[in-house]
Symmetry: C2
Subunit: 332 residues, 2 copies
DNA sequence: TGCGCAAATGTTAGCGCTAACATGTCGTGT
DNA sequence: ACACGACATGTTAGCGCTAACATTTGCGCA
């Protein structure tokens, strides 16, 4: 590990003061073009790279953000993080990644650790900590943005996907295609997202001028098996239903299997749609109509908002990104 | 953004020198228990958190590692990164994440940026840069570990999954189950992993005492469509083949679909296996027998090796992790 | 010719912490 | 009673950089 070149080495070699070198490095102020050229030549020759730890200590800014997710191996968060990293890199920032496994204690530790590292800001993806605790942790020491959670006081802002509206897109699509009797495999009551998606479903049914009483609402587990079971029940008890909208894509894929096993043709006898646009959705047969959440966009917007705020720019406080309807064979 | 508490504030408040506070914070040397207690009490009361930027500048260590991947939204890398982050956190390190999209220029930029940030070490996942360029970039300035690539000089070490051995596991499994005539959908000749997996296949065929001439080797595209095509060709031209091993799981899933369409029963008439154990593998019908790469383990081992090295501990230079055979219905 | 002002460069101090050395304070054994 | 050493604590300097102010240089213009 050989000795690193410092700004002083460059200054000595170029016969100028360290400050002049600093100015050249930071494209600052007025430096005579020839001086600048000379300094740059020395920098190049010595292979000087500024030490950003020292710079951070002097400027009190680290150009570093923290991103806290529950698990980066969850594709949803992977996309959000990817978006965050893209936006950060573009603006000269770096990203510390923290996984919490939805553990409250780990969440606290992650935030504390990021604060110790002097990050300029933090992006919290679906944090579980109660509002008061978040506020106490930050108490104005760092800026933070929430992803997938409503704005709370002291937060720079919040970025979410309009999941109620996403369900509505599917309802609208099905109704446009002439389906009149719809069902919603609604997930686990009380579970995350249940209330809001169900509200979106009901609202869209009303908006389409359909009778809410005619719609079938099936609570179900939020996995593959839940969809299988919900669809089996539907086929048995409500054979007149023409379109099934599922809480998420896994549920929808379970539902597709149930249809195959019960000899129900998709989409001719029953149209099926999911929510989420997971990779699998385009690989099952028939390919799944679904709603794509702007996952990458969530990360990009969160970081953009955060950096805008850090640079004193104007920005929105709450951003609601529109999901996109992906029409495939299961509900054409 | 209110003023942060520094070590000097704590020292003043506790009536000791900053050095004593530093000793308490770092659990160093001998500090009288009652002094320690008093200092800790003040730390607690003021909510002091050490500034690790300043600490890094003074100690010349950042307790930070860089992890460079081509794309975190690729589940393979997401798992590796997760393993890396887990291992790092456990040992008090943090992780900077960089995506390169397989772009050489971005790879160089990422490494440069990490060096500027004074990371203590870097984990490079499947870097594309040629050996000389990597060596020039690092030239002894930082320690780095390679994942999924052979050791090169100056690297701390390399961690890989034994993919040739993984193919062998499947061959061995099929042979044990009495299959004698096997085929390999070998991927794109010249593409990444092609040579080594094909070698593993041939080696295993030989080791099983089978005639290499009897084995069918099909080049194919490495996606879903490639598998469909390869399997269609196989069914048509080599109806006597009993087991098909595929370059990866997507290829295998394409092959499964071809079997359905050609009325070939899996696994009764043709056993099919993939490589990779992607999430999808357990969701298709029949569930896919495959080989699981120790992705999380790659990350863990890489970071452990790196930190061991940084702490002056002994460590391996090359680690080859064993893949695991996951037996499911498609090749029981 | 010299004044004044802007551009170019230098000087000083300090960010918050720790390494290394300096000093102080005991209890102990003779 | 005193010297010694072990432990406890303080002092000094510096990590590499930049902010803020200080100084110098050059040039236009009266």
């Amino acid at each position: 590990m050989r000795q690193r070149i410092t700004i002083a080495d460059v200054a000595r070699e170029a016969g100028v003061s360290t400050q002049t070198v600093s100015r050249v490095v930071n494209n600052k102020d007025s430096v005579r073009p020839e001086t600048r050229r000379a300094v740059l030549e020395v920098i190049e020759r010595l292979g000087y790279q500024p030490n950003s730890v020292a710079r951070s200590l002097a400027t009190n800014r680290t150009l570093t953000l923290g991103v806290v997710v529950s698990d980066i191996s969850n594709p949803y968060f992977a996309d959000v993080v990817r978006g965050a990293e893209d936006a950060a890199r573009e603006r000269g920032y770096h990203v510390f990644l923290c996984n919490t496994d939805q553990d409250l204690q780990r969440e606290v530790e992650a935030i504390r650790a990021l604060q110790g590292r002097q990050v300029d800001g933090v992006v919290l993806c679906s944090p579980r900590l109660p509002e008061e605790e978040l506020m106490e942790l930050f108490q104005g020491r760092q800026e933070f943005v929430l992803v997938g959670r409503e704005w709370i006081e002291n937060a720079v802002g919040s970025v979410r996907s309009d999941s109620a509206g996403g369900v509505g897109l599917v309802v609208e699509h099905m109704v446009t295609r002439g389906l009149r009797k719809l069902a919603f495999a609604a997930g686990r009551p009380g579970g995350p997202g249940h209330r809001i998606r169900l509200a979106g479903f009901k609202e869209a049914i009303r908006a389409a001028g359909l009778d809410i009483e005619s719609a079938v609402i099936l609570p179900c587990a939020t996995g593959h098996a839940g969809g299988y079971q919900a669809a089996s029940e539907l086929i048995e008890k409500h054979p007149d239903v023409e379109g099934l909208i599922c809480f998420n894509d896994l549920v929808a894929i379970g539902a597709l299997r149930a249809c195959v096993e019960h000899g129900v043709r998709v989409p001719e006898e029953l149209a099926v749609a999911g929510i989420g646009d997971i990779a699998l959705a385009s690989l099952v047969q028939p390919q799944l109509t679904t709603v794509s959440h702007p996952r990458h966009g969530l990360g990009v917007q969160a970081v953009s908002m955060l950096i805008d705020h850090l640079s004193g720019k104007e920005h929105e406080r709450e951003i609601l990104l529109k999901p996109e309807l992906i029409v495939r064979a299961s509900a054409p």
